[in-house]
Point group: C2
Chain length 280, copies 2
């Protein structure tokens, strides 16, 4: 705003799996920005990258990734889409990658936040500005309150409160973001298997009677530039298949991908979507 001559800089997108990298690219282009995507080999979906200027690189090829982002004039970087944490062996870092790895430190491999925070720090030291996907896709940030026709009842709120307690503990230990609670009982807890796998398990473990809830929270103190919890129509459909009555997530710290499709899926299944206000 101060410097009206300043054009929005080209956005670099480091892309993991799923459809979100293309959504971030579309949101940036809609705002008049150029984009360039680095698709991470083995994670990024080629069909998602295809319509956009992109290169596919190994996660360990750090020097090539950084050089490509510079060649394409990207100063702002978004990291988006799930990346299964590599083992040190899988990583096979290139020369620059090995140096970066030394800066990141092996300790960063202990938890998701540790690694992502370290990657952000290193990219910042390299002169990039790391921005959150939620800053680009503002309309995808989950608002507070009930978004659906269905509203959580007293049993659902009890289950949600139990889920929030458990999810906060898991987050504080940097283990995961989600859990499923039914009738006060924690059916499943998410580590690295991902929400969809946890939902499938919870469906198999559910008991008779009133259905449960999925609670998904950002980790306490989580950097919003790294791996915000994401909920999409597929999450809603999988939750419905698992017999759940609704989803609760943290408002302002959750990406609600394809919001309209999420709401349609939830309303069709009679489920609630509840954005928990972190202030209350």
């Amino acid at each position: 705003m101060k410097n009206q001559a300043e054009m929005p800089r080209r956005l670099g997108i480091i892309a993991g799996g799923g459809p979100l990298p293309a959504r971030v690219a579309a949101a940036a282009r809609a705002a008049g920005r150029g984009v360039f995507i680095i698709g991470l080999e083995g994670f990024a979906d080629p069909s998602v990258l295809a319509p956009w200027p992109h290169e596919v690189r190994r996660l360990g090829a750090a020097s090539r990734i950084i050089a490509a982002l510079r060649e394409h004039g990207c100063q702002d970087i978004v990291m988006i889409g799930p990346v299964r944490r590599p083992s040190l062996l899988d990583l096979r870092p290139d020369a620059e990658g090995a140096k970066l790895l030394a800066r990141i430190g092996r300790a960063a491999f202990a938890g998701d936040d540790g690694l992502l925070a370290a990657v952000i720090r290193v990219l910042t030291e390299e002169g990039f500005r790391v921005v959150g996907a939620h800053e680009i896709m503002r309309e995808a940030v989950a608002p507070a309150g009930v978004l659906t026709k269905a509203v959580p009842d007293a049993q659902a709120m009890t289950d949600i409160n139990r889920g929030v307690q458990v999810a906060r503990l898991l987050g504080s230990a940097d283990v995961g973001q989600g859990c499923v609670v039914q009738q006060g009982l924690v059916l499943a807890v998410e580590a690295i298997e991902g929400t969809d796998a946890m939902l499938a398990r919870a469906g198999a473990l559910r008991r008779d009677g009133i259905g449960g809830v999925l609670v998904k929270l950002a980790k306490p103190g989580q950097d919003k530039r790294a791996d915000l919890p994401t909920i999409g129509p597929e999450t809603v459909r999988n939750a419905a298949a698992a017999g759940l009555r609704g989803l609760a997530f943290e408002a302002k710290a959750t990406i609600l991908a394809e919001r309209e499709a999420c709401l349609t899926a939830a309303n069709a299944a009679g489920m609630f979507l509840l954005g928990l206000d972190p202030e209350t």
Copy 2:
């Protein structure tokens, strides 16, 4: 010791799944006690109960269970073997069961400890003495220290320490007892699916390189009369199949069922078994 005329009283065993009810019965008989088993319908394995005096009853048939234990002269009661927590609907309590349920309270359905502690309280109020399986099968209580030829190295100890941190948090929230950690990363966390299901998942999620560890801990402050963590040869074999290098558990608060078979399986797989001293 004070009253030498006091005979060991007949032991009542309320049996969930798996082979342990028969082991408790055998240990009691070896000590000169009579036994009577209530097999919980849908959980207890008929072939495990067959050699012993027993009745099979629904969990909800509380009045029949209590009457049968009294008829058979049982004053001491052991509860042993996994029971999938019922929903209130599944329970279909009989008249006495409904009264007991009211005394236990719906709140007890929120966590395993809550329910088991309440059941122990109610049985005690009914005049029974609830004893721990570890008091009957003393030789099955896991000792402290490394029990195997293989010994945990520095990476394994790092993984174990991380697993202890996570398992304590889970236990404090009354969620579960175990987790799998590999190279500092929490691969899987146990809720109600059971250790074997968690191990199968962890095997599918493991990364290349140095294998992980299973950590299984009693919940902080857990009543040892209720649902102590149990490790058997099948646990060891499943952990080996999941690529783990060893198991760590709390000494004096873990049932090591079929200890010799556990040690043989672990040594055959080159795995360690480590009893963590809760005092240190």
